[in-house]
């Protein structure tokens, strides 16, 4: 029986529409939880009014939800193909040969794809040319860039390709009829078919002029070669044939003349039969090439020109009337006579952007009859013409050009006077930009044609004359994109698809009856046809005077390109942004490099914060009437009176906010001259750098980097230059390799495979291709600038760079040995922390050393890291509880800790927090979670796969089959990996080599990674 009595609390309740009544009733039984508001987004959350009760409810709800969710496993779906493509087998990688040609980087590569996704770039062993550098290794990530343009646009509005083509064709015809001038401004393609299509296009539209524009110009070298040999191209150099290399400001290990020389160079650098090449470098900035030189002479650019003339004088005998300092003069005299005597094995190169300097260099090579330079095999990867580009820019500004079609170039970013140009670009009658990203130029163009990445494209390439290669897609275009060639074919009313055009062209002109499929499979096809070029004798009289007169007394700025960023095409690539510069070890930035004495004079400062971060103040760099504000890095070895600034940074458009780093060096690239006279002022504001190495010198610790001179190497006993460290055993000095000093039980690794990795410090140029390759192979996360600043970078493989405190490392060791007493130790070591004004430099790649007696293994409380029979130090991530004890106990500091969940965390909005960016992940390697240690695994997924392949094919494994990502990426042959239990293996020979040593051998860790003593030819 229900109770029907009603008790009134007050008389107000009698009136049903009283506000008070409603309020009370609502408060008594509170409404449902506003979960929708709560979960929707941050904005609505702010607006909702949450009281204590609600908070407790949310707490209860989320606890219950979390408990429920953790008990119930997620339902995973598995969706097979409807019709499975023949080549795709889930779980098996396919490799395709293709090539990259983005206008700055050109190479033949092999692309690893998994389930139809390209995930890694490797070198194509069939190609004669250089393998992929760091930027090319990273280029696969640039395809999975969520900021790419997804379809063609007109005035920023999406438009269909049909309309796009119809409109532009119509406009082209109209402009042709009214004879309005159109310029087709493109990158260097060095592609036979593309050039043929452009020719057809220019033929159809007679009002179109084709101009090639390289953002970082080699035009002066091209001009010089044309003057001497009658053809606008670049010669090729085979440094493996060289005995003596003299380079004037040519950073040939990075991007000089398109780069690609480190493979041959490294070959000549490894002492063989007591011989190796000798490398002299005259330069202003401390470049990667200079860091590898035997003799490095820092000279500011204008003095370089004089020195260059002097060398020419000593070689040719032609008097140039140049007076140099006596010391320098003496060195140059000696050098010139050595060059003359080098019997064709010497070479002289220069990177000075001056036609006359380039001419002299070519002439010197002609005079010394150099065999290193090859004038018959031409490099075709730079073809830009400064005068033409300059004229186009001026014409655009003067409005004497009405239309501009651009492909592969970004003039709004890379032109020095871009502001004026940009205004003019906006008002052009026709402006079309072919682009992958919303670049500065694309933003200002009326029409933007979305182009595919090279991994989604067809194409061909002729990197060197006669060395043809093909570009083939490795994935269907991710977006609604069309290739430049395809669109151009449409505009000339051709019904051909570009693929058909390409195939026909190759079959008719290049393959001539040979198999197209074979060429596509190999990716390369070499044609041996030589049209020898004739040397044209040119008088240099006037040119010598011109060169002399261009000398500048004031400060000079040398612009250069970094190994990581190049010309800035891939500024949106987090791998490259986080890759530390090989020399300054700064990531996520560019900066003004300054010599120490200039910095002191001007008041430019670098300071260290207590947590090990680098700060600086700014320099105001005045060039002509404009200035840029740049942070400063004091660079040992920087020539006095000179400054350095790299290209490629300071992108502002089409790049994620976090990746918009640095200052645009192109702003001061006047007249496409990499040397500019500048004035410097100090701006006292603090700039924060993300620098991964602050300790610059070795402090005389000669056992970390062992090095010697060629003379000692050839004449003295091994013990003299590569002695085994000794430790005290009962007060008797005993070699650390002796079993008596060992307190551990040894692992028996005599049966089965035992992997070792050898790193040759002579061959290693420090280029960093291995670092990016490791990133791609092992799903190494990117952590961003502020985390790198906290020393939380995740690179499994780092390349340490050390400067000498004295002139040479040898002197460092002596200084340290001569120290007596505590007082002297304190003062001398204090001084040794500072690198010399012109130091020797050494690079040392360091990854997990895979110690046979690993200090990390013994301290792990949960046995998450353990030793494998094959020599690898295993790391079971799911077992790790994150005590970080192992990292503290590692003498090599190679273990990395996941401070955050770098994947799926909006604070780290890089490739791993992005559905598209995740497609690059290697499915064979786990993505590590927050709170666990990680480190180099010696690519155990690769060694295991090699073993499995052998088991499946029931055969033994041959030497060379075992590879790691770094050994595969190393084009200079510095990193060699293999099985030391295989008697025939290369790595066993290296292990037995006299030059072999282990890092910190005195600790007794017995690493499975070894180094080869660096030999300098001083």
């Amino acid at each position: 029986m229900g109770n029907h009595k009603k008790y009134w609390k007050s008389e107000i309740e009698l009136s049903s529409d009283n506000e008070m009544v409603h309020k009370l009733r609502d408060n008594e039984f509170v409404n449902e939880l506003p979960i929708d508001n709560f979960l929707e987004n941050k904005e609505t959350l702010k607006d909702t009014n949450t009281n204590r009760r609600d908070f407790l409810k949310y707490l209860g709800f989320s606890t219950a939800a979390a408990t429920l969710a953790s008990c119930e496993g997620p339902v995973n779906k598995s969706i097979p193909y409807v019709v499975q493509p023949e080549q795709i087998r889930p779980g098996i990688s396919n490799f395709y040969a293709t090539s990259i040609s983005d206008g700055f980087d050109f190479a033949n590569v092999l692309v690893k794809t998994r389930e139809g996704r390209p995930i890694k770039i490797e070198k194509n062993s069939k190609s004669e040319d250089q393998g992929p550098n760091a930027r090319i290794q990273a280029s696969v990530l640039s395809m999975y860039d969520s900021s790419r343009i997804q379809g063609p646009t007109m005035d920023g509005q999406d438009i269909s390709w049909e309309l796009f083509n119809l409109n532009i064709s119509a406009q082209l015809q109209a402009m042709q009829a009214s004879d309005k001038r159109i310029v087709l401004l493109t990158q260097t393609f060095s592609s036979p078919t593309t050039e043929s299509i452009i020719k057809e296009f220019v033929n159809k539209y007679s009002n179109v002029e084709h101009v090639v524009y390289d953002s970082i110009s080699e035009s002066k070298s091209l001009d010089a070669f044309e003057i001497l040999y009658g053809k606008r191209a670049l010669p090729t150099y085979d440094f493996s044939k060289s005995d003596m290399i003299v380079s004037f400001d040519a950073d040939f290990l990075v991007d000089w003349q398109g780069g690609g020389f480190s493979k041959g160079y490294s070959k000549s650098r490894v002492p063989k039969n007591g011989k190796m090449s000798k490398h002299y470098q005259f330069e202003a900035n401390m470049s990667l090439t200079g860091a590898n030189a035997d003799v490095r002479i820092p000279l500011k650019p204008s003095i370089q020109k004089l020195a260059l003339l002097k060398i020419y004088e000593y070689i040719s005998g032609e008097n140039v009337n140049v007076k140099l300092e006596d010391e320098l003069d003496g060195k140059i005299k000696k050098l010139a006579s050595d060059l003359k005597k080098s019997s064709g094995k010497g070479v002289f190169i220069t990177g000075i952007s001056d036609v006359n300097a380039q001419l002299i260099a070519l002439k010197i090579n002609h005079l010394i009859n150099s065999k290193v330079i090859n004038i018959n095999k031409l490099s075709l990867i730079r073809n830009g013409n400064d005068t033409k580009v300059d004229k186009v820019v001026k014409d655009v500004i003067n409005k004497s050009v009405d239309g501009l079609i651009m492909c592969g170039v970004n003039p709004s970013y890379s032109l020095p006077n871009s502001n004026v140009f940009n205004e003019a670009l906006k008002s052009l009658e026709l402006s079309v930009s072919f682009s992958m990203n919303n670049t500065e130029t694309a933003m200002l163009s009326k029409w933007v044609a979305a182009t595919p990445h090279y991994l989604e494209s067809w194409g061909d390439l002729e990197i060197k004359s006669g060395n043809y290669s093909l570009i083939q897609p490795t994935i269907k275009p991710l977006f609604d994109t069309k290739q430049f060639q395809e669109v151009l074919l449409n505009w000339i009313d051709s019904n051909d698809l570009y693929y058909d055009y390409l195939k026909l062209y190759w079959n008719n002109r290049i393959l001539k009856g040979l198999s197209w499929n074979q060429a596509l499979h190999d990716g390369v096809y070499n044609l041996k046809s030589v049209n020898p070029l004739q040397y044209i004798n040119v008088s240099l009289g006037n040119r010598i005077n011109e060169l002399k007169n261009s000398v500048n007394e004031g400060f000079e700025l040398s612009l250069y390109s970094k190994v990581s960023m190049g010309d800035g095409k891939q500024a949106n690539n987090p791998w490259l942004q986080e890759m530390p510069d090989p020399l300054t070890r700064v990531s996520w930035d560019n900066y003004l490099t300054v010599s120490k004495s200039d910095a002191e004079r001007l008041g430019l400062k670098n300071t260290y914060e207590s947590n090990g971060a680098l700060n600086s103040n700014y320099a105001k760099v005045l060039v002509n009437d404009q200035f840029i504000k740049v942070p400063v890095v004091i660079q040992p070895g920087q020539a006095k009176g000179s400054f350095g600034l790299s290209f490629g940074y300071g992108r502002t458009s089409g790049v994620k906010n976090e990746l918009q780093t640095g200052v645009n060096g192109f702003q001061v690239y006047n007249q496409f001259d990499s040397t500019q006279s500048v004035e410097i002022e100090v701006i006292n504001e603090v700039h924060e750098f993300a620098c991964v190495q602050l300790h610059n010198t070795l402090m005389g610790r000669g056992d970390i980097i062992k090095e010697t001179t060629l003379e000692i190497f050839n004449t003295k006993d091994v013990g003299e230059w590569n002695h085994v460290p000794r430790v005290s055993l009962n007060h008797i000095a005993t070699p650390v390799t002796s079993p008596d000093v060992d307190i551990w039980e040894k692992f028996d690794s005599s049966i089965g495979h035992h992997f070792n990795l050898s790193i040759d410090l002579n061959a290693c140029t420090g280029c960093g291709a291995c670092v990016i390759s490791c990133h791609a192979e092992n799903n190494v996360p990117v952590v961003g600038k502020s985390e790198v600043r906290r020393s939380r970078d995740m690179h499994w493989l780092r390349i340490d760079r050390y400067y000498s405190s004295e002139e040479t490392f040898f002197e460092d060791n002596q200084t340290k040995d001569d120290i007596s007493g505590l007082g002297e130790a304190l003062s001398v070591f204090g001084k040794m922390e500072n690198p010399s004004e012109n130091p020797q430099v050494v690079f040392q790649p360091v990854m997990c050393q895979h110690c046979n007696q690993a200090p990390c293994e013994t301290v792990c409380p949960v046995a998450a890291t353990s030793h494998g029979k094959q020599g690898q130090n295993h790391m079971a991530y799911n077992r790790c509880v994150g005590t970080r004890y192992c990292a503290n106990n590692c003498p090599y500091k190679v273990r990395r800790f996941n401070w955050f969940l770098y994947n799926n965390n909006n604070e780290f909005d890089f490739n791993m927090n992005d559905d598209l960016g995740k497609m690059v992940l290697n499915p064979d390697v786990v993505v590590r979670s927050r709170g666990v240690m990680e480190k180099c695994s010696m690519c155990i997924q690769k060694t295991q796969k090699t073993i499995l392949n052998a088991k499946l094919e029931r055969r033994v494994i041959e030497d060379g089959e075992f590879q790691t990502a770094c050994s595969l990426a190393c084009d200079s042959g510095a990193i060699v990996f293999g099985d030391v239990n295989d008697k025939e293996s290369e790595v066993l020979k290296l292990k037995k080599d006299d030059r072999m040593y282990h890092l910190l051998e005195s600790v007794g860790t017995e690493p499975n990674v070894m180094y080869q003593v660096k030999v300098r030819n001083t």
Binding site: S70, C71, G73, V75, N76, K77, S78, I79, P80, Y81, V82, V83, Q84, R89, P90, G91, I92, I751, G752, A864, S866, G868, K869, Q870, Q872, H874, M875, A876, Y877, N878, R879, D924, V925, V926, V927, S937, I940, Q941, Q944, I947, L948, A950, K951, L952, R954, R955, V956, I957
Partner: protein, 461 residues
Amino acid sequence: MYRVSRIILLLYFRHLIFIQFFKLLLARKPTLFKHFCHFFTSNRVVKFWTLNLLFLFSTSISISAQELDISKGKSLFNANCASCHKLNKKLIGPALKGVSSKYEKDWLYTWIKNSASLIKSGDEQAVAIYKEYNKVAMNTFPQLSNEDIDNILAYSDYVPPAASNTGSSISSSNQSDQSSFTNDLVLVLLTIILIVLVTMLFLVTKTLKRVVSNNGVDTDFKKLSGTPLWEKFIKNQFLVIVSVIFLLLSSAYFAYGYLMQLGVDQGYMPIQPIHYSHKIHAGENKIECQYCHSSARISKHSGIPSLNVCMNCHENIAEYDGEEDLEKGYTKDFYTNEIRKLYKAVGWDETTRSYTGDTEPVKWVRIHNLPDFVYFNHSQHVTVAGVDCQKCHGPVEEMEIMYQYSPLTMGWCINCHRESNIKVKDNEYYTKIHEELSKKYGVEELTVAQMGGLECGKCHY
């Protein structure tokens, strides 16, 4: 009451022990399971077969009267014609039911033996058929005699008596009804016995109490003990501590047991978008596992077959014509309907026998979910080690609905690695290492563990 419950408990424990024992046995001798299963199934199967035999026997008598061997005709039909013809349905060629009444016998003889020459000769009937079936000529069968053709025609005309078919299905359903009925009966009996026992116990105590009171004994137990039992218990500190410890330990034990099974999905049997029966494919039709899961030989994934693999067979198998399980509702129509789902997904138009191109991939629910941090490679186990699929996936050929047979825990993996030997025969890769290692360990055959199969990095990277 107490005793009864003890008996029930005992019975239950014994049952548990039996199961455990059986499980143990299974672990040692996996084949035992097969025998065991066989025992249960065969009982039913035997009954079915006797019925079927009876049915066959009765029908064969009736056919013999027709002086034509229909069974011979059937086997000939299956061997020669079935790839292109069906009895009731157009396949590549026309349906054959009643074909003998449509055409003259002599014409049929020549047509079947060599249709091409008949078409060439310009025979009107022949040319008409040729045109109707997209100018695809029928294969020639010169090896068939006129008698053979008669047999085939007799088979194609034969209409099986409908009654016997329904009879068999009724009997089978009866049988299943019967078994459930006996189960119920046993349960009812047990309940009755239980009730009787309880009443008896109650009566006995009542009688005893009466006897005691009649004899004048003081039955006030409270007076005897003074304090109630629970108060005594609380006052006895030792007992309290011991029982608390016991409680804590046992709850820890159960908590551990609960936690250890978290994420272990043994027996996980999700409902799939298409009711695909491994029992019919792998069991009854004896299709090799790796015919469909071909990637298992070479890749880390076994691979769920793409739909075009299904269509290799199902282009010609549009209807299910096998055994039914009416109890669970797996009728012929049910299975045929599932085949329809495949056709819809793959975009196959049955009437025109062509692909429409209108596809929608099937979203299977993944059953075996290894965590991300473990690397498992099928080819290593299937091709190199020669492990049977059933070792990990269980008796798939008997699974109507696929489920996770093994726990897929690390302990389970490791255990197998400890027990299994490496298959080194004819594998040059192993020759050297096996020789050296077996010398080192002094054994003839190496286990996976001895080869390094227990190292963390072999599966975790």
